[in-house]
């Protein structure tokens, strides 16, 4: 199979999601494709493992780029729940807002939201990277296990509740921290990490030296009723 050179455009409304996904799966590595007339369709580009570039012209619904391992998405619009959920590798750039549970359980790759992300952003993150230029809603990073979350704006209530080993950097204000989350001093390595994340995400409005670092206090790692653990 040869790498296609002509730009390819798929009309989601005309073809339907299943046919679009089928065609995406068959594209050889290196292909570039634009999805047009998306009209908020759910489940676009899910489960892809080929190294292709997909531009979404418009808004997408739930689970855009979910369960993917390899492709790069560029969304000229906003996305619904669970964008890039369980992402293993690849990138998802969203030039709009993201609804709830952005990058939920992502194991790898980069999800960059250039607008705001709703509640539970980065929930149960397992090693991936979520960068949000604007604000994130409540319960973001809930039970996040590994990986990094960068928030350029403010974070809502209970940020990092029941956090494990993931690390959060917040450029704006934090309304409240969740159970077992705490702020920590920035190290040189943290500053370098934030600078690297900003570059990867394409953010230029965050000062890496003035973000707040949030990590787990590790006090709830093992159940112990006699310690008056607070949940």
């Amino acid at each position: 199979m040869t790498v296609q050179t002509e730009p390819l455009t798929l009309d989601v409304r005309a073809l339907g999601v299943t046919e679009v996904n089928k065609r995406l799966r068959l594209l050889p590595d290196g292909s570039a494709v634009t999805l047009a007339e998306t009209w908020g369709a759910h489940n676009l580009g899910v489960g892809l493992t080929n190294r292709i570039s997909i531009t979404i012209q418009g808004n997408a619904g739930y689970y855009l780029a979910g369960l993917c391992d390899g492709p790069d998405f560029d969304v000229v619009g906003s996305v619904g729940w669970g964008v890039a959920e369980n992402l293993m590798s690849g990138t998802v750039q969203i030039h709009g807002n993201a609804s709830e549970s952005a990058a939920a359980t992502a194991h790898g790759g980069l999800v960059a939201v250039h607008g705001d992300a709703s509640s539970r952003a980065g929930i149960s993150l397992k090693g991936g990277t979520l960068a949000v230029a604007g604000n994130v809603g409540h319960m973001s990073a809930f039970m996040a296990q590994a990986g990094t979350i960068l928030v350029g704006g403010d974070a809502g209530d209970s940020l990092g509740d029941s956090l494990y080993e993931a690390v959060i950097y917040v450029g704006g204000r934090i309304k409240s921290l969740g159970a077992d989350a705490r702020t920590e001093d920035l190290t040189d390595a943290d500053v370098a990490k934030v600078r690297e994340l900003c570059a990867a995400a394409g953010f230029d409005h965050i000062d890496p030296e003035s973000v707040t670092k949030v990590a787990s206090a590790r006090q709830l790692y093992n159940f112990d009723a006699l310690k008056n653990q607070r949940y």
């Binding site: 299943t18 489940n43 979910g66 729940w81 549970s101 929930i123 039970m143 494990y164 790692y221 159940f223």
Partner: protein
Amino acid sequence: MTTSEGHTPLTLRPSATFPPETIAHVQTMSRTGRYEIRGWGAKRRVPSFDDLTFVTASLSRYPLEGYRERCETKTVLGSRFASKPLELDIPITIAGMSFGSLSANAKEALGRAATNVGTSTTTGDGGMTDEERQASRLLVYQCLPSRYGFNPEHLKMADAIEIVVGQGAKPGGGGMLLGQKVSPRVAGMRTLPAGVDQRSASRHPDWTGPDDLTIKIAELREATGWEKPIYVKFGATRVTNDVKLAIAAGADVVVVDGMQGGTGATQDVFIEHTGIPTLPAVRLAAEAIRDVGKTGEVQLIVSGGIRSGADIAKALALGADAVSIGVAALIALGCNSAFYDDGDELIDVTADYHALGTAPGFCHECQTGACPVGVTTQTPELSARLDPEIGARRMTNYLKALTMELATLARACGKNDVHHLEPEDLAALTIEAAAMAKVPLAGTTWIPGQSF
């Protein structure tokens, strides 16, 4: 008053409110300041399949010859939307139990046995192990709230997908793998540090209600080319509504786990005081499927305390298409046995049970990771006590014996297919069972709630 020997006679008057086990429970809580966490399912007596009996053939029904005439046990699951439904030789599947809760040897043994008899086994929280995939011809891959170890590669390697909303031992409660069972391998699969308690969330991270579930199911289908059956599993609570919502969301198969269903580690208060028994759950689920016109299109798997061919036959008669076994499978592997088989001789491990404060036949200490027979442990020296080949042989024998029991009851009811068993083949031995199973109380035509 004294005896002739000068002793005061004992007057032991037990309390119904505070029997010895309740006294022990209160004293344990007062000593430790916490609730009990344990394995297995509900231990108290609840209305069950034992409260039903088959009214087999005589003059008014014609039986099949018990040892000669064929009685079909083939079972197809997932024929509604999936292009590759599961075709099982028997209507008995192995329930989801995690690697982490169970040893790798136990998982491998279950997989090999399932393959031997032509049925499926199921992964569990924590993901899919290579041993399990290689051992199991048909493997159901669970999508749980924690998504520990969940990834698209394994999703595509699976033969079916089970979205777990909850389970019978702890509906609405999530779960916990205590740190003592979190070995480096288990931790690595779950992307967490070794030795840390691993909480399994009670809600999925990327969907909430049934409308979201519809889209989630569609996502999994899109990601796997609409090939694989999708099951939705939940603990038996509001069964009628839950079954209807799962069907509306697009499930191929509904799995209902009654309150006797087991767990690797959950609060005792959850195990004993949540959900409804498997007996009413199966009837409610079958009726819900019928009410929405999907009988034969959406299959029903029932689990929770299934032990014998009689239990399976009764579940099928009440409307299940298949059953899942969990605790019974572990027992078949050696759980609660006083001995383990090292290949040459039986080694007595009663002392190891005593060290856990229990004894063979009573143990539910799966949460400790110190399983004396190597079934629910991650400790290498304990895991080695279960040889996967010996375990597979025992489990294969058990599954074959269950199937024989099931078929012999079906033949006696005049059925040449176990799926032809029906409620009319049953009578209830208690009023409660008659009401729950909606079959007549034995010797009467009375079904409480339906007639006077």
